[in-house]
Structures are given as structure tokens and as C-alpha cells.
């Protein structure tokens, strides 16, 4: 083993050498030097606090420091050998340098190294050490001579003191040790001195080298640098002087450690000094350590003696601290046996066992008792189980298997459940770390903040799309659409609640709670407002007299003339509000002037009465139309808003106010719609211009909902009077062109918008119209428009069909009418017949060309494109309506003119010249639509 530079074989070698008496005295030269007790001794050891060490063993365990084995052995050895000039530490033949390099370690680490070299052999009978040291009494009892640890190593001394009265006292030992140390120290001192001298020589050499270098440098460097160097040199020399002084001091003090090798590592003299100081410190520490170790050893020996004595007493007295640990023995005999065992064991432990195996064997024998009980219990339970199973033997083997499987399954299940439950519990526990971090008031506070962000002046409009979507959803879900999902707080504002949840779980609760929260907040806010109102500054304002309002003479000149009227009309449309400021200025003037005339023109009776005072204007530009439309949309939204916020009927005042407001907004809308603008003002009429844009067409149904019957009639009259001015009529020829041109799709889009928007909005008026009104409208249409052109368009056909159908309904109601006043007068009927005949007459040459399929380019080339049945369908429908009103001669005309068309369809359907069954069906359905009106059917047509 090579431990801290010690060679393993050293001890053995030593032994051999010793046995042969060849131990050289020169070896002792290398030993450490202890300088305590010298003249240079600083006396720090005396200043040490010596007391309070009695309990060190209890605190640090009884192992104690181990550094003194060799001193001890050396002492005893030297004692027995009578102070031969022999090494106190025989293993140590290492050079001193290694010692100096780790002075503290050398003291501490030696014992383990020594103990490793099988101390047993030292104490062995054959060992010369043991022979010399202990005498025959010791070797005779192998059990008492066990040495395992450094602490027990000291045991023989105590023991020996008891058993061997002739042992030396501690003072004697110490004296011996000191003597030995003295000797070794002297040797080392000599060595040190040699080394120091050598070192000094080295230093001088180094200095010379430096000087040489400096001289060389001086030749090369500038004077200033030289000066600096000289300064440095001076400093260096100064430092060197100091160093020398220190060295001399050290020599005087007989420091035993050699100075470090002064290699020119650093030019800084401070570094050298530092190193030297460090060494000094180390030396001092070493000395102190030595002293301390000696003291400790002394104390340890005393302590051990005390312990031994106490143990012996305790053993003999039979009092055990650990006695109650094993209450296993039930009988008294057992107890006694156990006690005996324990005693044995304890003794063993205390003395330290020679062989660990033996010790553990004892140990096991003792401690096995407890597991035995557990084993017994387990066995008992197993027995019970087997007995239970034996009882089950009555059942068949298969049943048992089934039962076992079942049981296993159940066990697994429960285990799984348990696992699940545990995981859940762990999760909950994990989350519950945050339980009750927030108090209820904290939560309320946060809810308040959140809710305050939601409160708006106009909850419906701010949440418009969600509200509308919610309404649709509710109607689809079959819920009552009456309740708006809006929390309202009087006039102050509210919160949109969004779409109701389908599942009735936690959400509604949260909703209710929020509702309550909000209500509380709002009521609190209102109360505060009221209190403020009562005690506000306003009530006290001016109580102490008035201050002069203006301190400046004149207001600064106004540079910007901002229109103060352009305030937003809607709270939610602030960014666009200014658009809603209408252009009534431009239209207002003429509107007043022409209002009288419009009254006359209202029903279109005097449509030709273009008086001289008519102000002709250019038609509205597209931009004007768009601006008007935006304004109209704002107004319509406002109207819808007002409708929703309708005051309760009980509150008469509020109702009156609401009605006034509603009426004023409606009037604005009516004016803006420009229906009352004289017919001949422009072409197209401003109202028609508004309808020329898709969103204008879409707006109409939303707007007409709020108009009264009279206004609606006026609107309808105007529309019919100017029907040919409509873009859908004018641009209708585009639809006859092949598809997929931008114009075509645009017109198609507009047509769709017109049919779904405008026609839908006038439908209720026509559906309720009297025969007189219908014939008047038809007359107006025929008079002011090119009815042939109109009839060639889908909107025109739709209108005509609408009128004819209404009259048909009226005719039918004639037969079962009960109220005589509802019946149309004969004059009205006559008027109608006149109008119808006129219409028929006008359309007669164009019947075949009413069909879009006949108007296409392909049709001109003499062949009809397939897939035109859907566009033809309204035409067939119109012709059917026409046929219903027609008299026999008119029927013949119709059949004659449409014969080809009907046959075309029927033949192609019956001969299978169709793409699919659907088309065939469509063709036949179209033809039948018309033929049925004549009292015929497609099946009657024979091929």
C-alpha cells in the first residue's frame, strides 16, 4: 500500500530490520521535529483553554484522535527498550520534505495507515512488538487482546493499568516522548539550516541574473524607463533586505520547516513575502496542532480509563440501558436468557469484537426474535386461509377456478379503482394548494372589474351580431325569441349575455351569479350617483357668491368653422355618425316647394300633370346615392333600436316621448328616401337611383316595415310609375347574353336582390290591395312604361304576375263573399277588364319572346340551349296567370302563339331529348302550369 507516500512494505521491512537488529540510527534523521518547550516557543499552547474536554468523547465519539499511536508505541517501546536511540515512528523513513509539504496531514493520517498494516500482527504473539510491549499476561488471553479501532487501541493501557500494576505513569511516557522528539528535532534543524543556506545562494544568483538583465535593458530603454526600473530595483532591494531580516529572525527562532523554494515565479516581492508569511503561519499551526494532539491524547487516555471503569461496574451490576428494548420473551426463563444474551452482546460491542462475523452472528441470534413473531403471524393467517379453502372443498374444482378468477378480477378492479381514486385525490390535493388564496371579496373585486368592462350604453347594438345570432339560435332551438339576452339597467346601460347555453350545467349558475353581481354593482353605482346628486358641489355652487367667469377680454379668433350639427346620431356609430347627417339641406328646399304637387301625383292619377314650376335636376350620382344609403342605414338602425327600446305602455309620458322620437326619425327617413320628389325631377328618379344599388334594394324591406300604409302606397305608386327606370329592367338584356361576364353576374346579383328585397316589401301592399288599386297600378304601369320591355324581365314578370294573382284572388272571393262592402264595384271590374285587355293586346306579339330561352343567341340560330327551363318557369307562370283572366278568344291567341313552344317542350320531354329525368320533369311541369290554366294537360297532346 502506498498511502500518503508511505510504502506498504515499510512496516514489514522495519520489523525485519528490527528483529535482526539492523535498524539504522540514520533513519531517525528524517523524522519530524516538534518544537514545543523550546525557548522560541511562543507560549500560545499555555494560553489554550484546557478545560471542558471531559465530554469530548461523548460529543465526538470515543474514537478520538489517532495520531499518537506511534508515539505511544514508541514510548512503550522505548520504555521497554530503555530509551534506545531508536525512531519513535519507525515506519517513517520518508524524506522530510514530504512531511513539510503536508504537515498537518502527516499527523492525522498516520494512524489509519498504521492500522491498516494489520495491527493485529503487531499485537500478535509472534510479533516482536507485542512481545516487548505487553508481556505474557496480555498474550495469554486472546479475547481481551482484540484491537479493532484506534479508540480500542488505547484500551490495553487502561486494562493494563488494572491488570498490570507495574505500568508507567503518563508523565513518564511524556518525558520519554519529549526526549525522543528533541533528538529528532536536532537532526532536522541541521538539515533546515543547510537548506536555508542553499536557498539563499539561489536567491543571490537570481538577483545577479536580474541585475544583468537590467543592465542589458538599460542599454536599450529610455532614461525614464531606466529611472523607473531603478526605482523598482531599489524597492526590490528593500524588500530583499526585509526578507533577509525575516530569514535571520527565523533562524533565530529555530523554525524547523525549510523555506520554500524561491523560484522566480513572480517579480513581486510582496508575493514572496506572502508565501513566507503563509509558511510561518503553517509552522505555527503545526506546533499548535501538536500541542493540542498531545493534550487530547492525555485526555483521551483518562477518559478511556473512566469509561472502562464505568463499563465494568455496569456489567457487574447488571443494569442495562437497552434492556427494555426486547420485550419479546414471554416467560421469565426467556427473559433471563435474553438478558444473558444481551449482556453478552453488549460486552462484545463495548469491548469491540475481534471478528465482525462473530459479532454479527450474535447480533442475528438476538434480533431474529422480532421477525420471528411477524413470521408466526403470517403463518397463522395463511393457515386460516387454507382452512377456509379447505371448507370450500365442497365446491367443484371448476367452480373454485371460476371463483378464483372472479376474485382476481374483483381484486384487479378494486386495485384499478383505488389507483384511479388515488390519482384523483392527488390531483385534487395538488390543486388544493391554491385553495383559499383568494377571499370572496377578492373574487368579487375581480368580477367587478371584469363586469365593468362589459357594461355598455347600448348592449344590444354593441353585441349586435351575437344578439342576432342568438335570436336565430333560440328560434331554431324552439325557445321563445321574446327575451333578449341583454341585461338592462334602466337607461344607464347593460350587458349582452350572448347565446344561451344548451347544457344546463355550471354555466347558468355562473350567469346568474354574474347577473346578481352586476345588478348589485349597478344599484350601488346608482345610489352613489344619487348621493352625489344630493351632496354634490353643484348644489353648493355659487353659495359663496360668483366669481367672474372670464378673465380674458376676448376669445381667440376662431380659425376652424366646425359644423356643430354634425354630432353623431348613434352612440354605437360614432365613427360613422357624421354620415348620418343627411343632405336635407339640398333636398329640403325643393321638398317644401314640391310637396303640394306630390299630393296630387300620389296615386299616379295625374302623372302627366307636369306643371311648369317643376324643378328638373340631374339624377343622383352614384356617390350621392351611396352617401344617402349610408345615412338611410343609420336611420334604419336607429329606428330598429327605438323599436327595441319601446317604452312600456303604462308609462304614458315616456310612450309619448318615444312616439315623438320615433316619428321624427321616421320622417327623416321618409324625406331621405326621396319618394316625395316629383316624378319628372330626374330620370331615373332619385328613389329609383337609391334602388339601383344592391344594398338599397336590401334596405327597403327593413325600412318599409316602419312605414304606414299611406306612405307605402305612395312608394308603391312611385315604384310602378318609374318601373322601367329600374336598373334591373334596363340592364335585363345582359341576362340574355351568355353567362360568365362580369355584367351578367352583376345584373343577376341585382335582380336577385330586387326580387328578394323590393318585391318582397311591396308584396304585402299588393296582397291587401283592392281591385281598384290594382287596376290603377296596372294602368299606371302600362301608361308610363314600356310594358313589353318590362315583361321581358324577371322583375317585371314578377310584378305582373303579382298583380294578376291578386285580382284572381279577388275574383275568387267574389263567389263566397259575405260582406257587400268588400265587393268591388262594377265600375272597378270594368276598369280592370279594360286594363287587362290593354295589357294582353300589348303583349300579344311578344309572347314567344317572353321566354329567356327564346331570346338567347342560340335561339336566334334556331336551336334552344338546354337547361333553360328554370329561367322559363316564371314566364310559364305569368302566362298561366294571364290565361286565367283571359276570355276564350284570348285563349285561342295564346295557344296559337305558344303552340310551338309547348310542343317543343312536350316533344323533347317525351322523346327523351333531355339530359336527365329532372329536366324532363321540369319541362312538363312548366307546360302543364300553363295548360292547366287553359283546362288542358300535357298528356292530352298526342305525338
Amino acid at each position: 500500500m502506498s498511502f500518503f507516500g508511505f510504502e506498504e512494505t515499510d512496516l514489514e521491512k522495519e520489523k525485519q530490520q528490527f528483529l535482526h537488529g539492523q535498524l539504522r540510527s540514520s533513519d531517525t534523521d528524517d523524522l519530524t521535529v516538534y518544537t514545543w518547550g523550546e525557548e522560541s516557543y511562543d507560549g500560545l499552547g499555555d494560553a489554550l483553554e484546557e478545560g471542558g474536554d471531559e465530554r469530548n468523547n461523548e460529543t465526538f465519539g470515543s474514537t478520538g484522535t489517532v495520531g499518537k499511536d506511534f508515539d505511544f508505541s514508541a514510548a512503550t517501546l522505548s520504555g521497554s527498550e530503555n530509551l534506545q536511540p531508536k525512531p519513535s515512528q519507525p515506519y517513517n523513513d520518508q524524506p522530510l520534505k514530504s512531511y513539510a509539504s503536508r504537515p498537518s496531514e502527516s499527523q492525522v493520517t498516520r494512524p489509519p495507515a498504521a492500522s491498516h498494516v494489520s495491527l493485529e500482527s503487531i499485537w500478535d504473539d509472534n510479533s516482536p512488538f507485542s512481545l516487548r510491549m505487553n508481556g505474557a499476561g496480555r498474550t495469554s488471553s486472546p479475547s481481551s487482546g482484540r484491537v479493532q479501532s484506534p479508540s480500542t487501541l488505547q484500551q490495553p493501557i487502561g486494562h493494563g493499568m488494572k491488570q498490570q500494576p507495574g505500568t508507567r505513569t503518563l508523565q513518564e511516557i511524556e518525558a520519554e516522548m519529549r526526549a525522543a522528539a528533541e533528538r529528532t528535532r536536532e537532526h532536522t534543524l541541521q538539515r533546515q539550516l543547510l537548506q536555508q543556506q542553499q536557498h539563499r545562494r539561489e536567491e543571490e544568483e537570481y538577483r545577479r541574473q536580474q541585475q544583468q538583465q537590467q543592465q542589458e535593458m538599460e542599454l536599450e530603454l529610455l532614461q525614464r524607463q531606466r529611472f523607473l526600473q531603478q526605482q523598482q530595483e531599489q524597492q526590490l532591494q528593500l524588500q530583499r533586505l526585509q526578507q533577509q531580516q525575516i530569514l535571520q529572525q527565523r533562524e533565530q527562532q529555530h523554525h524547523r520547516t525549510p523555506p520554500p523554494r524561491m523560484l522566480p515565479v513572480s517579480q513581486s516581492p510582496r508575493f514572496l513575502e506572502h508565501q513566507r508569511l503563509l509558511l510561518l503561519q503553517q509552522q505555527q499551526e503545526q506546533q499548535e496542532l501538536l500541542r493540542l494532539q498531545q493534550l487530547e491524547e492525555q485526555l483521551r487516555i483518562e477518559d478511556l480509563e473512566r469509561q472502562m471503569r464505568a463499563q465494568q461496574i455496569s456489567h457487574h451490576g447488571g443494569s442495562h440501558l437497552d434492556h427494555d428494548r426486547h420485550p419479546s420473551g414471554p416467560t421469565l426463563a426467556d427473559m433471563e436468557a435474553l438478558q444473558l444474551l444481551q449482556q453478552q452482546q453488549q460486552r462484545e460491542i463495548l469491548r469491540g469484537s475481534q471478528s465482525p462475523t462473530k459479532h454479527s452472528a450474535h447480533d442475528n441470534g438476538l434480533y431474529m426474535q422480532q421477525p420471528n413473531i411477524q413470521l408466526q403471524q403470517r403463518l397463522l393467517s395463511e393457515l386460516a386461509n387454507t382452512e377456509f379453502l379447505r371448507e370450500m372443498q365442497g365446491l367443484s374444482q371448476a367452480d373454485q377456478e371460476v371463483l378464483r378468477a372472479e376474485a382476481m378480477r374483483k381484486i384487479l378492479e378494486t386495485e384499478k379503482m383505488e389507483e384511479k381514486r388515488r390519482r384523483k385525490a392527488a390531483k385534487i390535493a395538488h390543486m388544493s394548494r391554491y385553495n383559499d388564496i383568494m377571499t370572496q371579496s377578492d373574487k368579487d373585486f375581480i368580477t367587478r372589474i371584469q363586469v365593468s368592462q362589459l357594461v355598455t350604453q347600448d348592449p344590444y347594438a354593441d353585441d349586435f351580431y351575437a344578439q342576432v345570432y342568438g335570436a336565430i339560435m333560440r328560434s331554431r332551438m324552439g325557445l321563445g325569441s321574446d327575451d333578449e339576452r341583454v341585461l338592462k339597467f334602466g337607461t344607464s346601460g347593460g350587458i349582452g349575455l350572448g347565446v344561451p347555453q344548451r347544457g344546463a350545467n355550471r354555466r347558468p349558475n355562473a350567469m346568474q351569479r354574474m347577473q346578481q353581481q352586476v345588478e348589485r354593482i349597478v344599484s350601488n353605482a346608482r345610489r352613489r350617483e344619487e348621493e352625489k346628486g344630493l351632496h354634490s358641489l353643484h348644489s353648493l355652487q355659487g353659495a359663496l357668491g360668483k366669481t367672474s367667469g372670464r378673465s380674458y377680454k376676448a376669445a381667440p379668433r376662431q380659425l376652424l368653422q366646425v359644423d356643430s350639427n354634425s354630432s353623431p346620431t348613434l352612440s354605437h356609430a360614432q365613427t360613422h355618425g357624421h354620415i348620418s347627417h343627411q343632405n336635407d339641406n339640398s333636398s329640403g328646399d325643393d321638398a317644401a316647394a314640391e310637396a303640394a304637387k306630390l299630393g296630387r301625383e300620389a296615386l299616379g292619377e295625374q302623372h302627366n300633370a307636369e306643371t311648369s314650376d317643376l324643378v328638373r335636376k340631374d339624377p343622383l350620382s352614384r356617390k350621392e346615392v351611396l352617401v344617402t344609403l349610408e345615412a338611410l342605414y343609420d336611420l334604419v338602425l336607429q329606428l330598429e333600436q327605438l323599436k327595441r327600446n319601446q317604452a312600456p305602455p303604462e308609462d304614458e309620458q315616456a310612450t309619448a316621448e318615444w312616439q315623438n322620437e320615433f316619428k321624427s326619425v321616421l320622417d327623416q327617413t321618409w324625406v331621405l328616401l326621396k319618394v316625395m320628389v316629383p316624378l319628372a325631377t330626374s330620370d331615373p328618379h332619385p328613389f329609383i337611383s337609391i334602388l339601383s344599388i344592391a344594398k338599397g334594394k336590401k334596405l327597403l324591406p327593413r325600412l318599409t316595415r316602419h312605414l304606414d300604409n299611406q306612405r307605402m302606397l305612395t312608394l308603391l305608386t312611385l315604384l310602378i310609375a318609374c318601373f322601367s327606370q329600374l336598373d334591373v329592367i334596363r340592364n335585363a338584356p345582359f341576362l340574355d347574353n351568355p353567362e360568365d361576364t362580369p355584367d351578367h353576374s352583376e345584373v343577376e346579383r341585382q335582380t336577385q336582390a330586387f326580387l328578394s328585397g323590393v318585391i318582397q316589401s311591396i308584396l304585402p301592399i299588393i296582397a291587401k290591395g283592392s281591385l281598384r288599386l290594382i287596376s290603377g297600378l296596372l294602368g299606371l304601369l302600362l301608361d308610363r312604361n314600356d310594358v313589353v320591355a318590362i315583361a321581358k324581365t324577371r322583375p317585371g314578370l314578377a310584378l305582373l304576375t303579382l298583380l294578376l294573382t291578386r285580382v284572381e284572388v279577388i275574383k275568387e272571393s267574389l263567389h263566397n263573399a259575405t260582406n257587400i262592402e268588400e265587393l268591388p264595384s262594377p265600375e272597378d271590374a270594368e276598369q280592370w277588364q279594360l286594363m287587362f285587355d290593354h295589357l294582353f293586346q300589348l303583349l300579344t306579339p311578344h309572347f314567344p319572346f317572353l321566354f329567356p330561352s327564346s331570346r338567347t343567341i342560340d335561339a336566334a340560330a334556331g336551336h334552344i340551349k338546354p337547361g333553360m327551363d328554370a329561367p322559363d318557369q316564371p314566364v310559364w307562370q305569368f302566362l298561366a296567370a294571364l290565361a286565367l283572366h283571359a276570355v276564350t278568344e284570348q285563349h285561342q291567341i295564346l295557344v296559337t302563339l305558344l303552340r310551338d313552344k309547348v310542343l317543343d317542350n312536350v316533344v323533347s320531354a317525351k322523346k327523351g331529348w333531355v339530359a336527365d329525368e329532372e329536366e324532363r320533369h321540369a319541362k312538363l311541369a312548366n307546360v302543364d302550369l300553363f295548360l292547366h290554366a287553359l283546362g288542358l294537360d300535357s298528356s292530352q297532346i298526342a305525338m
Binding site: D563, S566, T575, H576, H578, I579, S580, H581, Q582, N583, N585, S586, S621, R622, K623, E624, L626, V627, L629, E630, A631, I693, A694, K695, K698, S745, E746
Partner: protein, 94 residues
Amino acid sequence: MDPSSSGIQEPFDLIRLSLSERVFVKLRGDREMTGILHAYDGHMNLIMSDVEETITIVDTESPEGSNVSVAKRKMDMLFVRGDGVILVSPPSRS
């Protein structure tokens, strides 16, 4: 009609007029499109329907000088991010 009475006070008002109307939009990266404008915001993000996009591709790598080709595509509904919008106008009327 003067601007004050027409209520046009800021550029966005002009775009507002074109709501639900067909507009022409010029975009960065040589892209143009026409479609019906449904919504816009302050960033000029646009929602458009029935859109036809025209992409002009100039191929400078081709052997016979620069070669301009046009790609078109149609979309039913489109969200246009505002940072790409250069110009929004009513479609030119022929």
C-alpha cells in the same frame, strides 16, 4: 353636393360607401382583386366575397426578355390583411 353635407370627412368614409358593393383592391406583390366588400377596419383589413384575384407575374429569367403573365383565381369569401392593401376603389365603369 359639398363634402360637409355629404358627410364625407375622412378617407374611411369613402370606403364605407362601398360596403356591400363591388370594389377593386390593389395589393402588394402585383396583386389586384375585385369583389364585394363586406367589412373593413382601421387597418384596412377587408372581408370580401365573390373575389377574383389577378396576379401579375413578371418573369425576368426567361430567355426572350421579360415575360409578363397573369394568373387569376376566384374565391367565395376572403379575408384580406390590411398591411397588403395599397388601394381600394369602386370598380372602373366602362
